[in-house]
């Protein structure tokens, strides 16, 4: 099923050269609210990424609120996009999401083993949390 947020992201990346895609990711990264230092703990970090990534989640009014941060800008840009799609939704809805935008904007290489499985690890972690919260 198509999703309006993902379709908008795909539209923004459509037709861009690689360096311009990265430029766009960097601008999204700059908009991402940084995570407080106190939450950047070993426990909150996600392994399998080439740069450090931290996750913090909590539930508010039946919705799952997700904070993500990274020390690398491109990673930050990617997680900013991811948050636009998955954040602030009921856990069940998150589990049902088909994240097709990753493939369509050409970020699939970030899912490959060559990129140390980074994005895949982040998505897996979000799904794990959503799974627990949904039950």
């Amino acid at each position: 099923m198509r999703d309006a947020v993902q379709d908008e992201i795909i539209g923004q990346f459509d037709g861009l050269e690689w360096l311009d895609k990265y430029g766009l990711l960097i601008s999204f990264a700059k908009e991402l609210e940084p995570m407080d230092k106190e939450f950047k703990t070993e426990e909150n970090s996600i392994s399998g990424c080439q740069s450090k990534v931290w996750i913090r989640t909590y539930r508010e009014n039946g919705r799952l609120i997700i904070n993500l941060d990274s020390e690398a800008m491109i990673t930050k840009g990617i997680i900013a996009l991811l948050l636009k799609v998955v954040n602030n939704r009921p856990p069940r809805e998150i589990l049902d999401l088909d994240l097709y935008f990753i493939d369509e904007i050409g970020l699939k290489s970030n899912l490959s083993p060559a990129r140390a499985d980074g994005l895949a690890s982040i998505i897996r972690r979000i799904r794990e949390v959503a799974e627990v919260e949904a039950n």
Binding site: Y22, I26, S51, I74
Partner: protein, 393 residues
């Protein structure tokens, strides 16, 4: 020196529509046509298992395999071909030594340098030894005079050149001191054998490990030099092709090198190393060193002259790798943009986490050079760095 790029077909390739600038040679080098042809020819006309056949092809491949051993032996200045074993690579070579010496190492100590790759750390820990680093100064110059050898010290295992910094360790000095205490020395030559002439007898080490794929040959094959005085150590692996007599009660082993080569070896790989040596020797190891030194110094100086760039390590002799970071920009971010400009570098801890801790960083950007790199490649890297800085400004 003549343009060597044309000998390497992969360097003609464009990535993302741009000329490939390959600066990840410390990870693996590209292969010249002569090596590619040797591998292809082996499988199209000579393929057969070695040492055990009575037929024509087996004779041919056995001869080529043993000729490759002779070639490696001469290339590294070994006393005789029997001191050279084909392994799966540097990591495998070091693991084999660690396994063979386990009974001596267990509960004792191995001295290493502070710039070691994990493959010259973990095998010793697996063998039950503790590790102690020989001190180095701020530029990562090894302070061999401060090396403390105790009763517990049973081996010194040291890289010739760092895969991260390109720093060259004074291995001859280390061996001289080790000899006074009758301690064997293992040299990890993974990052030096492709850059400079190596002579194990001149160095005086007892073991030397290297990889084929970093010296323009195939992946999955490497060499281990073991001096004659360690020729009777227990093999790390058992199996076919390395035994004299086997009974269910007891087994006796062949003499080296075959006692260390259980199972069918990487025959095509071993032969490809011989082809790679021919290629390098046709150019001349001294000439390679001279050319690489010129390009390396050019690139390093350009980086040092640029504001906002931190270059790691500063030793008397350097080769191969240069590690750096751009101030305020994560190494991964730098590498991703360079990649999209056709520039292949490596980012991260480069399997040298203890060194990263010493340098006070999580990781670096590493540009590593080979004989086909030119000053133009260094200029492209600098252009790439400018672009990176603009992107993240």
């Amino acid at each position: 020196m003549k343009d060597l790029r044309k000998d390497f077909p992969i360097l003609e390739k464009q990535v993302y529509g741009k000329r490939l600038v390959y600066l990840d040679n410390a990870a693996t080098s590209q292969k010249p046509n002569s090596v590619i042809d040797t591998i292809s020819d082996y499988y199209s006309s000579d393929n057969s298992n070695i040492h055990r056949g009575v037929h024509y092809l087996s004779e041919v491949s056995s001869e080529k395999y043993e000729k490759a051993r002779e070639k490696v032996s001469k290339f590294i200045g070994a006393g005789e071909p029997g001191e050279v074993t084909f392994t799966a690579g540097t990591t495998d070579s070091i693991n084999q030594v660690a396994c063979s010496l386990k009974s001596i190492l267990k509960g004792n100590e191995v001295l290493v340098s502070g710039v070691e790759h994990h493959s010259n750390i973990v095998p010793w820990q697996l063998a039950g030894a503790t590790l102690r680093a020989i001190p180095m100064d701020e530029g990562c110059n090894l302070l061999s005079d401060s090396m403390k050898i105790t009763d517990k010290t049973k081996l010194i295992a040291i890289s010739h050149a760092s895969n991260v910094l390109g720093s060259v360790n004074p291995i001859k000095e280390v061996v001289e001191i080790a000899k006074e205490h009758d301690i064997p020395v293992l040299v990890d030559a993974a990052q030096s054998i492709q850059h400079m002439p190596i002579d194990v007898q001149d160095i005086g080490c007892d073991f030397l490990a290297a990889s084929g794929h970093k010296m323009y040959a195939a992946t999955g094959v490497g060499v281990l030099y073991t001096s004659e005085r360690f020729g009777d150590i227990l093999p790390a692996r058992g199996g076919g092709g390395m035994v004299d007599r086997v009974t269910l009660e007891e087994t006796t082993y062949l003499k080296p090198p075959l006692r260390y080569e259980a199972g069918t070896p990487h025959i095509a790989g071993a032969i490809s190393i011989a082809a790679a040596i021919d290629y390098m020797q046709d150019i001349g190891m001294d000439k390679i060193r001279e050319h690489e030194h010129e390009v390396y110094s050019y690139a390093r100086n350009k980086l040092l002259e640029t504001d906002g760039v931190t270059v790691y390590g500063d030793t008397e002799e350097m080769c191969g790798s240069i590690s750096f970071n751009l101030d305020g920009i994560h190494h991964y971010d730098t590498g991703l943009i360079l990649d999209k400009m056709g520039i292949a570098v490596r980012t991260g801890h480069h399997c040298a986490q203890p060194l990263m801790r010493t340098l006070g960083t999580e990781g670096t950007v590493r540009a590593s050079f080979a004989l086909y790199n030119t000053k133009e490649d260094a200029d492209m890297l600098m252009e790439g760095i400018e672009k990176v800085r603009m992107m993240y400004a």
